[in-house]
C-alpha cells in the first residue's frame, strides 16, 4: 500500500488529486513544486525504491499525445500514444521498460482533461 503521496502545489485542489488522497487515507501527503524535484534525480536506487514506491501527483503541461516510433504502431499509417502515468505498479522480471527511469516512484498526471 502506498504510504506517501507527493503532490505538486498546482494540483493540490484538482478533483482527481482529491479523489486519490481520499482513497489513500493513511498516506502522508507532502507538497512539492514540480515532480522533477524528486523523480529521476541522480544517485537514486531503483531496486531499493521499488520496495516502497511513493505516489507523485503532478500536472502535465505539454507533449500530451506523441507520435509512436516507427515499428511500434498498430497497423495504421499514423500512430500515437500518451502517458498519463510514469512507471508501473508491477515488477516483472522480463520488463525492459523498468530500466527507463532511475526512479521507481509512480508519477500520475492528474489533469486528464488537458489530454483531449
Amino acid at each position: 500500500m502506498i504510504d506517501s503521496i507527493f503532490i505538486e502545489q498546482d494540483v493540490l485542489d484538482h478533483p482527481v488529486s482529491q479523489k486519490v488522497i481520499n482513497r489513500l487515507k493513511n498516506a502522508d501527503v507532502f507538497e512539492i513544486e514540480r515532480y522533477q524535484e524528486m523523480f529521476n534525480r541522480r544517485h537514486q536506487n531503483f531496486r531499493i525504491q521499488k520496495q516502497k514506491p511513493a505516489l507523485i501527483l503532478a500536472k502535465k503541461y505539454d507533449n500530451f499525445v506523441l507520435p509512436a516510433p516507427s515499428g511500434f504502431g498498430i497497423d495504421a499509417q499514423k500512430n500515437y500514444y500518451f502517458s498519463h502515468m510514469y512507471n508501473c505498479i508491477y515488477d516483472c522480471r522480463y520488463c525492459f521498460l523498468q530500466g527507463m527511469y532511475s526512479s521507481a516512484n509512480y508519477v500520475l498526471f492528474v489533469n486528464y482533461e488537458d489530454f483531449f
Binding site: 506517501s4 502522508d28 507532502f30 534525480r41 537514486q44 525504491q49 516502497k52
Partner: protein, 286 residues
C-alpha cells in the same frame, strides 16, 4: 611525499553524521564506538565489530557535508553503506521528544529540496524539514527546523545512493518551549528516550546495506579477466554490466565455462550477451 594516516580496515555498514557531542553521546555509548585519532578536523568514532562509524560535524550544513566527506575518505566507505543524520530539531507543535524521519529536506538558503531515504513509516512518522541558518524562533510553518540536514543530503547520496541516506530528527523546541531552554543534558536525554526506535531503524538500515552489498558484489573471477585481457574503460564498464545481468540469470554458473573461447575484451562481452540472448527466448511470463 605526503604520508597518509593509516586507515582502519573494517567493513563499515552504517555511518552517522551528528552535529553535537550531546546528540552523539547516546549513540556512541549504545554502539560502543571508540575514538579514532585525536588530530582530525572532526571527531571520528567507530566500532570494527558492528561496522558503525560516527563523525561529529559541528553546526551548519557546510560542516555536515564536510564531516560526511571526511568520514567517507578516512574509512574508505563503500557505496552500499547506509548514512544517517541524527539530531534535534524545532517544530511548530508538541510533543517534545518525538522522533521523525525527514522525507523532504528543504534548504531555505539555496531553495533546493532533497528527498532522502526509504520511508520508514512503519517505525516512525515522516515530516518535511527546513534547514535554516539561524535557530528558528518563529515556527511559522508546520515543518521541522534544523541547521545541518541539507548539507548532509547534498553529499551523502553521492557516496552511496539516495535510498540509503536517512535524516532523523527529534523535536527539542517548540513555540511553548523555545530553543534557549534546551540544555546539553536535555539533548542527550531526548536521544536516549528514543533508543528503542533507533535500534529498530538501525536493523532496517543494516539490512538494506547488506542487500545492496550483495547486489553490488563483483566476484574475484571477474578481476582475473581484467588482469589477463586489455580492457578500455568503456569495455570494462560494458563487461561489468553484462556480467551483472548474466550472474542474475545464471547464479550458479562459472565465468570460465562461458568465456573459455574469448580472446579479447569485446569477444568476452559478446559471449556473455549471446548467452543472455539465447536464455531470454526461454523466459516464461509466469
Amino acid at each position: 611525499m605526503i604520508e597518509l594516516p593509516t586507515r582502519p580496515s573494517f567493513d563499515v555498514k552504517v555511518c552517522w553524521v551528528i552535529a553535537l557531542e550531546p546528540e552523539a553521546r547516546p549513540i556512541i555509548d549504545e554502539l560502543d564506538l571508540r575514538r579514532y585519532a585525536q588530530d582530525l578536523n572532526f571527531p571520528v568514532y567507530f566500532n570494527p565489530e558492528n561496522g558503525h562509524a560516527l563523525v561529529i560535524s559541528g553546526i551548519g550544513p557546510a560542516k555536515a557535508a564536510a564531516a560526511a566527506t571526511c568520514l567517507k575518505m578516512l574509512l574508505n566507505v563503500e557505496s552500499y553503506v547506509g548514512w544517517i543524520n541524527l539530531g534535534i530539531a524545532g517544530f511548530y507543535s508538541q510533543p517534545i521528544g518525538k522522533l521523525y524521519q525527514a522525507v523532504k529536506v528543504y534548504d531555505t538558503a539555496g531553495k533546493k529540496s532533497y528527498f532522502p531515504g526509504v520511508r520508514l513509516s512503519k517505525i516512525l512518522k515522516c515530516q518535511t524539514l527546513h534547514t535554516v541558518f539561524q535557530p528558528e524562533t518563529a515556527y511559522l510553518e508546520t515543518v521541522l527546523f534544523d541547521m545541518e540536514a541539507s548539507g548532509f543530503c547534498e553529499m551523502a547520496p553521492t557516496f552511496s545512493c539516495n535510498e540509503l541516506v536517512f535524516v532523523l530528527k527529534i523535536v527539542s523546541d517548540t513555540p511553548d518551549h523555545p530553543v534557549r531552554l534546551v540544555s546539553k543534558e536535555t539533548i542527550s536525554q531526548l536521544i536516549y528516550q528514543n533508543m528503542e526506535k533507533l535500534k529498530e531503524i538501525i536493523l532496517v538500515v543494516e539490512k538494506l546495506a547488506k542487500e545492496e552489498k550483495k547486489r553490488l558484489f563483483i566476484s574475484e573471477e571477474v578481476f582475473r579477466y581484467f588482469d589477463t585481457f586489455h580492457f578500455t574503460q568503456s569495455n570494462r564498464h560494458r563487461f561489468l554490466q553484462a556480467y551483472r545481468k548474466w550472474k542474475s540469470a545464471f547464479p550458479s554458473r562459472k565465468l570460465t565455462s562461458t568465456l573459455a573461447d574469448g580472446n579479447s575484451a569485446s569477444e568476452l562481452i559478446s559471449s556473455l550477451e549471446n548467452e543472455l540472448l539465447i536464455e531470454s527466448k526461454n523466459w516464461k511470463l509466469s
